[in-house]
Protein backbone atom coordinates (compact mmCIF):
# COMPACT_ATOMS: atom_id res chain seq x y z
CA UNK A 1 0.00 0.00 0.00
CA UNK A 2 2.76 2.41 0.98
CA UNK A 3 4.54 1.96 -2.35
CA UNK A 4 1.29 2.64 -4.18
CA UNK A 5 0.73 5.86 -2.25
CA UNK A 6 4.23 7.00 -3.04
CA UNK A 7 3.59 6.33 -6.72
CA UNK A 8 0.44 8.46 -6.60
CA UNK A 9 2.37 11.19 -4.79
CA UNK A 10 5.11 11.08 -7.43
CA UNK A 11 2.59 11.31 -10.25
CA UNK A 12 0.91 14.27 -8.59
CA UNK A 13 4.19 16.13 -8.17
CA UNK A 14 5.22 15.46 -11.78
CA UNK A 15 1.80 16.68 -12.86
CA UNK A 16 2.21 19.84 -10.77
CA UNK A 17 5.52 20.53 -12.48
CA UNK A 18 3.98 19.95 -15.91
CA UNK A 19 1.06 22.25 -15.06
CA UNK A 20 3.53 25.07 -14.45
CA UNK A 21 4.50 25.05 -18.15
CA UNK A 22 1.12 26.72 -18.73
CA UNK A 23 2.53 29.85 -17.13
CA UNK A 24 4.83 30.20 -20.13
CA UNK A 25 1.78 30.65 -22.33
CA UNK A 26 0.51 33.43 -20.09
CA UNK A 27 3.94 35.05 -20.23
CA UNK A 28 3.89 35.03 -24.04
CA UNK A 29 0.37 36.45 -24.02
CA UNK A 30 1.17 39.30 -21.65
CA UNK A 31 4.34 40.14 -23.56
CA UNK A 32 2.33 40.25 -26.77
CA UNK A 33 -0.30 42.56 -25.30
CA UNK A 34 2.20 45.00 -23.77
CA UNK A 35 4.52 44.92 -26.78
CA UNK A 36 1.73 45.78 -29.16
CA UNK A 37 0.49 48.49 -26.82
CA UNK A 38 3.96 50.00 -26.70
CA UNK A 39 4.47 49.92 -30.46
CA UNK A 40 1.09 51.58 -30.91
CA UNK A 41 1.84 54.12 -28.19
CA UNK A 42 5.14 55.11 -29.78
CA UNK A 43 3.44 55.74 -33.10
CA UNK A 44 0.70 57.87 -31.59
CA UNK A 45 1.74 58.97 -28.08
CA UNK A 46 -1.21 61.33 -27.64
CA UNK A 47 -3.70 58.45 -27.82
CA UNK A 48 -1.69 56.18 -25.51
CA UNK A 49 -3.02 57.31 -22.14
CA UNK A 50 -6.62 56.66 -23.14
CA UNK A 51 -5.80 53.01 -23.87
CA UNK A 52 -3.92 52.03 -20.70
CA UNK A 53 -7.11 50.67 -19.13
CA UNK A 54 -7.69 48.46 -22.17
CA UNK A 55 -4.11 47.20 -21.91
CA UNK A 56 -4.59 46.23 -18.26
CA UNK A 57 -7.81 44.40 -19.11
CA UNK A 58 -5.98 42.50 -21.84
CA UNK A 59 -3.21 41.62 -19.38
CA UNK A 60 -5.76 40.48 -16.81
CA UNK A 61 -7.54 38.16 -19.24
CA UNK A 62 -4.36 36.58 -20.48
CA UNK A 63 -2.91 36.33 -16.97
CA UNK A 64 -6.00 34.53 -15.67
CA UNK A 65 -5.13 31.46 -17.72
CA UNK A 66 -1.61 31.37 -16.31
CA UNK A 67 -3.09 31.62 -12.83
CA UNK A 68 -5.36 28.67 -13.64
CA UNK A 69 -2.31 26.52 -14.33
CA UNK A 70 -0.76 27.67 -11.04
CA UNK A 71 -4.00 26.68 -9.34
CA UNK A 72 -3.91 23.21 -10.91
CA UNK A 73 -0.36 22.81 -9.61
CA UNK A 74 -1.44 23.86 -6.11
CA UNK A 75 -4.41 21.48 -6.15
CA UNK A 76 -2.19 18.58 -7.20
CA UNK A 77 0.31 19.33 -4.45
CA UNK A 78 -1.93 20.12 -1.49
CA UNK A 79 -5.51 18.99 -2.10
CA UNK A 80 -5.61 15.22 -2.31
Amino acid sequence: MAAENELVQMGALIGAGLACTGMGGAAIGIGHVVGNYLSGALRNPSAASSQTATMFIGIAFSEALGIFSFLVALLLMYAQ
Binding site: F56, I57, I59, A60, F68, F70
Partner: protein, 248 residues
Protein backbone atom coordinates in the same frame (compact mmCIF):
# COMPACT_ATOMS: atom_id res chain seq x y z
CA UNK B 1 12.84 23.39 2.06
CA UNK B 2 15.40 24.32 4.68
CA UNK B 3 17.24 21.37 6.19
CA UNK B 4 19.46 21.69 9.25
CA UNK B 5 20.65 25.00 10.67
CA UNK B 6 18.62 28.18 10.49
CA UNK B 7 14.87 28.55 10.78
CA UNK B 8 12.69 26.33 8.64
CA UNK B 9 10.32 28.58 6.67
CA UNK B 10 7.67 26.82 4.65
CA UNK B 11 6.34 29.11 1.89
CA UNK B 12 2.73 27.95 2.26
CA UNK B 13 2.57 28.14 6.06
CA UNK B 14 1.50 31.79 5.99
CA UNK B 15 -1.83 30.90 4.35
CA UNK B 16 -3.06 28.59 7.13
CA UNK B 17 -6.32 29.75 8.68
CA UNK B 18 -6.09 29.49 12.47
CA UNK B 19 -8.63 30.23 15.19
CA UNK B 20 -7.64 33.32 17.13
CA UNK B 21 -8.27 32.03 20.64
CA UNK B 22 -6.61 28.60 20.51
CA UNK B 23 -8.29 25.30 19.73
CA UNK B 24 -8.41 23.60 16.32
CA UNK B 25 -12.10 23.55 15.48
CA UNK B 26 -13.19 25.80 12.64
CA UNK B 27 -16.87 26.66 12.47
CA UNK B 28 -18.47 29.44 10.47
CA UNK B 29 -18.64 31.63 13.59
CA UNK B 30 -15.08 30.98 14.85
CA UNK B 31 -13.02 34.21 14.88
CA UNK B 32 -9.87 33.40 12.88
CA UNK B 33 -6.88 35.37 11.68
CA UNK B 34 -8.86 36.04 8.46
CA UNK B 35 -11.56 37.76 10.51
CA UNK B 36 -8.94 39.77 12.40
CA UNK B 37 -7.15 41.04 9.30
CA UNK B 38 -10.38 41.80 7.44
CA UNK B 39 -11.43 43.86 10.44
CA UNK B 40 -8.09 45.66 10.44
CA UNK B 41 -8.46 46.39 6.71
CA UNK B 42 -11.92 47.91 7.23
CA UNK B 43 -10.61 49.92 10.20
CA UNK B 44 -7.66 51.27 8.19
CA UNK B 45 -9.91 52.22 5.27
CA UNK B 46 -12.47 53.98 7.46
CA UNK B 47 -9.79 55.80 9.48
CA UNK B 48 -7.97 56.91 6.36
CA UNK B 49 -11.10 58.30 4.73
CA UNK B 50 -12.41 59.97 7.91
CA UNK B 51 -9.08 61.62 8.74
CA UNK B 52 -8.50 62.50 5.09
CA UNK B 53 -11.83 64.25 4.57
CA UNK B 54 -12.11 65.86 8.02
CA UNK B 55 -10.45 69.21 7.35
CA UNK B 56 -11.20 69.72 3.65
CA UNK B 57 -8.35 72.21 3.30
CA UNK B 58 -7.62 73.93 0.00
CA UNK B 59 -3.99 72.92 0.31
CA UNK B 60 -4.39 69.20 1.11
CA UNK B 61 -2.37 67.33 3.70
CA UNK B 62 -0.91 63.93 2.83
CA UNK B 63 -3.87 61.93 4.13
CA UNK B 64 -6.36 64.22 2.38
CA UNK B 65 -4.44 63.84 -0.86
CA UNK B 66 -4.55 60.06 -0.51
CA UNK B 67 -8.28 59.95 0.24
CA UNK B 68 -9.14 62.39 -2.56
CA UNK B 69 -6.85 60.55 -4.95
CA UNK B 70 -8.59 57.23 -4.29
CA UNK B 71 -12.02 58.82 -4.69
CA UNK B 72 -11.13 60.64 -7.91
CA UNK B 73 -9.43 57.57 -9.38
CA UNK B 74 -12.48 55.33 -9.01
CA UNK B 75 -14.88 58.14 -10.00
CA UNK B 76 -13.03 58.76 -13.26
CA UNK B 77 -12.80 55.03 -14.01
CA UNK B 78 -16.58 54.62 -13.75
CA UNK B 79 -17.31 57.82 -15.66
CA UNK B 80 -15.01 56.81 -18.53
CA UNK B 81 -16.52 53.35 -19.02
CA UNK B 82 -20.14 53.54 -17.86
CA UNK B 83 -20.89 57.22 -18.31
CA UNK B 84 -23.17 59.13 -15.98
CA UNK B 85 -25.54 56.18 -15.56
CA UNK B 86 -22.86 54.16 -13.79
CA UNK B 87 -22.18 56.74 -11.09
CA UNK B 88 -25.26 55.53 -9.21
CA UNK B 89 -23.27 52.43 -8.24
CA UNK B 90 -20.15 54.38 -7.29
CA UNK B 91 -20.36 53.62 -3.51
CA UNK B 92 -20.32 49.85 -4.07
CA UNK B 93 -17.39 49.93 -6.49
CA UNK B 94 -15.44 52.39 -4.34
CA UNK B 95 -15.93 50.12 -1.30
CA UNK B 96 -14.72 47.09 -3.28
CA UNK B 97 -11.63 48.93 -4.53
CA UNK B 98 -10.64 50.35 -1.14
CA UNK B 99 -11.19 47.06 0.68
CA UNK B 100 -9.21 44.97 -1.82
CA UNK B 101 -6.39 47.51 -2.12
CA UNK B 102 -5.96 47.82 1.64
CA UNK B 103 -6.22 44.07 2.38
CA UNK B 104 -3.66 43.38 -0.37
CA UNK B 105 -1.28 46.01 0.96
CA UNK B 106 -1.66 44.89 4.58
CA UNK B 107 -0.59 41.42 3.47
CA UNK B 108 2.87 42.80 2.67
CA UNK B 109 3.50 43.72 6.31
CA UNK B 110 5.71 41.03 7.91
CA UNK B 111 3.81 38.54 10.12
CA UNK B 112 0.49 39.74 8.76
CA UNK B 113 -2.09 37.66 6.95
CA UNK B 114 -3.30 38.25 3.38
CA UNK B 115 -7.07 37.87 3.47
CA UNK B 116 -7.37 38.15 -0.31
CA UNK B 117 -5.20 35.04 -0.75
CA UNK B 118 -8.10 32.94 0.57
CA UNK B 119 -10.45 31.61 -2.11
CA UNK B 120 -13.37 31.89 0.35
CA UNK B 121 -12.93 35.67 0.53
CA UNK B 122 -12.41 36.37 -3.17
CA UNK B 123 -15.20 34.00 -4.29
CA UNK B 124 -17.67 35.84 -2.06
CA UNK B 125 -16.54 39.18 -3.51
CA UNK B 126 -16.77 37.91 -7.10
CA UNK B 127 -20.14 36.20 -6.57
CA UNK B 128 -21.52 39.39 -5.06
CA UNK B 129 -20.43 41.28 -8.19
CA UNK B 130 -21.91 38.59 -10.46
CA UNK B 131 -25.28 38.59 -8.67
CA UNK B 132 -25.39 42.40 -8.50
CA UNK B 133 -24.74 42.73 -12.22
CA UNK B 134 -27.26 40.04 -13.18
CA UNK B 135 -29.99 41.42 -10.91
CA UNK B 136 -29.45 45.04 -11.94
CA UNK B 137 -29.44 43.99 -15.60
CA UNK B 138 -32.66 42.02 -15.30
CA UNK B 139 -34.44 44.70 -13.26
CA UNK B 140 -33.38 47.59 -15.50
CA UNK B 141 -33.80 45.96 -18.91
CA UNK B 142 -36.11 42.97 -18.34
CA UNK B 143 -35.85 40.47 -21.18
CA UNK B 144 -33.72 42.98 -23.09
CA UNK B 145 -30.80 41.97 -20.86
CA UNK B 146 -30.52 38.77 -22.94
CA UNK B 147 -29.18 40.93 -25.79
CA UNK B 148 -25.82 40.58 -24.01
CA UNK B 149 -25.69 37.06 -25.44
CA UNK B 150 -27.06 37.96 -28.89
CA UNK B 151 -24.36 39.87 -30.78
CA UNK B 152 -26.36 41.89 -33.30
CA UNK B 153 -23.25 43.14 -35.14
CA UNK B 154 -22.23 39.58 -36.16
CA UNK B 155 -23.56 37.78 -39.29
CA UNK B 156 -26.90 36.05 -38.65
CA UNK B 157 -25.56 32.54 -39.23
CA UNK B 158 -22.84 33.00 -36.62
CA UNK B 159 -25.07 34.42 -33.90
CA UNK B 160 -26.31 31.13 -32.33
CA UNK B 161 -22.73 29.83 -32.05
CA UNK B 162 -21.58 33.13 -30.58
CA UNK B 163 -24.52 33.03 -28.17
CA UNK B 164 -23.32 29.69 -26.76
CA UNK B 165 -19.79 31.04 -26.33
CA UNK B 166 -21.10 34.23 -24.71
CA UNK B 167 -23.28 32.27 -22.26
CA UNK B 168 -20.33 30.10 -21.21
CA UNK B 169 -18.05 33.10 -20.82
CA UNK B 170 -20.72 34.91 -18.81
CA UNK B 171 -20.95 32.13 -16.24
CA UNK B 172 -17.18 31.57 -16.04
CA UNK B 173 -16.73 35.23 -15.06
CA UNK B 174 -17.02 34.79 -11.27
CA UNK B 175 -14.52 31.91 -11.41
CA UNK B 176 -11.80 33.82 -13.26
CA UNK B 177 -12.63 37.04 -11.43
CA UNK B 178 -11.98 35.47 -8.02
CA UNK B 179 -9.17 33.06 -8.91
CA UNK B 180 -7.16 35.87 -10.53
CA UNK B 181 -7.02 37.87 -7.31
CA UNK B 182 -6.42 34.83 -5.11
CA UNK B 183 -3.73 33.34 -7.34
CA UNK B 184 -1.81 36.59 -7.70
CA UNK B 185 -1.79 37.29 -4.00
CA UNK B 186 -0.89 33.72 -3.05
CA UNK B 187 1.88 33.35 -5.65
CA UNK B 188 3.47 36.72 -4.89
CA UNK B 189 3.56 36.22 -1.14
CA UNK B 190 4.81 32.64 -1.49
CA UNK B 191 7.74 33.90 -3.62
CA UNK B 192 8.79 36.26 -0.81
CA UNK B 193 8.68 33.38 1.67
CA UNK B 194 10.73 31.14 -0.64
CA UNK B 195 13.50 33.77 -0.67
CA UNK B 196 13.13 34.10 3.11
CA UNK B 197 13.72 30.35 3.30
CA UNK B 198 16.99 30.76 1.34
CA UNK B 199 18.06 33.50 3.72
CA UNK B 200 17.46 31.17 6.65
CA UNK B 201 19.69 28.43 5.23
CA UNK B 202 22.58 30.46 3.82
CA UNK B 203 23.78 31.95 7.11
CA UNK B 204 26.53 34.47 6.35
CA UNK B 205 25.53 34.80 2.69
CA UNK B 206 21.90 35.61 3.53
CA UNK B 207 22.77 39.12 2.33
CA UNK B 208 21.89 38.19 -1.28
CA UNK B 209 18.42 36.72 -0.69
CA UNK B 210 17.57 39.71 1.51
CA UNK B 211 18.31 42.06 -1.41
CA UNK B 212 16.15 39.83 -3.60
CA UNK B 213 13.33 40.01 -1.02
CA UNK B 214 13.48 43.81 -1.16
CA UNK B 215 13.24 43.73 -4.95
CA UNK B 216 10.33 41.29 -4.89
CA UNK B 217 8.55 43.40 -2.26
CA UNK B 218 8.86 46.41 -4.57
CA UNK B 219 7.36 44.37 -7.40
CA UNK B 220 4.59 43.13 -5.11
CA UNK B 221 3.71 46.71 -4.21
CA UNK B 222 2.93 47.28 -7.90
CA UNK B 223 1.08 43.97 -8.18
CA UNK B 224 -1.22 44.62 -5.20
CA UNK B 225 -2.30 47.91 -6.76
CA UNK B 226 -2.73 46.45 -10.27
CA UNK B 227 -4.79 43.53 -8.97
CA UNK B 228 -7.12 45.82 -7.00
CA UNK B 229 -7.40 47.97 -10.14
CA UNK B 230 -8.08 44.98 -12.39
CA UNK B 231 -10.73 43.58 -10.05
CA UNK B 232 -12.48 46.96 -9.94
CA UNK B 233 -12.25 47.72 -13.65
CA UNK B 234 -13.65 44.29 -14.51
CA UNK B 235 -16.53 44.96 -12.12
CA UNK B 236 -17.15 48.25 -13.93
CA UNK B 237 -17.07 46.53 -17.32
CA UNK B 238 -19.49 43.80 -16.17
CA UNK B 239 -21.71 46.57 -14.82
CA UNK B 240 -21.61 48.14 -18.28
CA UNK B 241 -23.33 45.01 -19.64
CA UNK B 242 -26.14 45.50 -17.15
CA UNK B 243 -26.56 49.19 -17.93
CA UNK B 244 -26.23 49.11 -21.71
CA UNK B 245 -26.82 45.51 -22.95
CA UNK B 246 -26.12 44.95 -26.63
CA UNK B 247 -25.07 48.43 -27.73
CA UNK B 248 -22.24 50.56 -26.46
Amino acid sequence: MATEGGPNIHPMEQFVVKPLFGGHELNWYTPTNVTLWMGIAVLVAVTLLIIGTRRRAIVPTRSQLLAEGLYGFVYKMIEDINGKAGLKYFPYIFTLFTFILISNTLGLVPYSFTTTSQAAVTVVLALAVFLTVTIIGLVKNGVGFLKVFWISSAPLALRPILAIIEIISYFVRPVSHSIRLMGNMMAGHAVIKVFAGFAGVLGLFSFFPIIAIMAVLGLELIVVFIQAYVFTILTVIYMNDALHPGGH
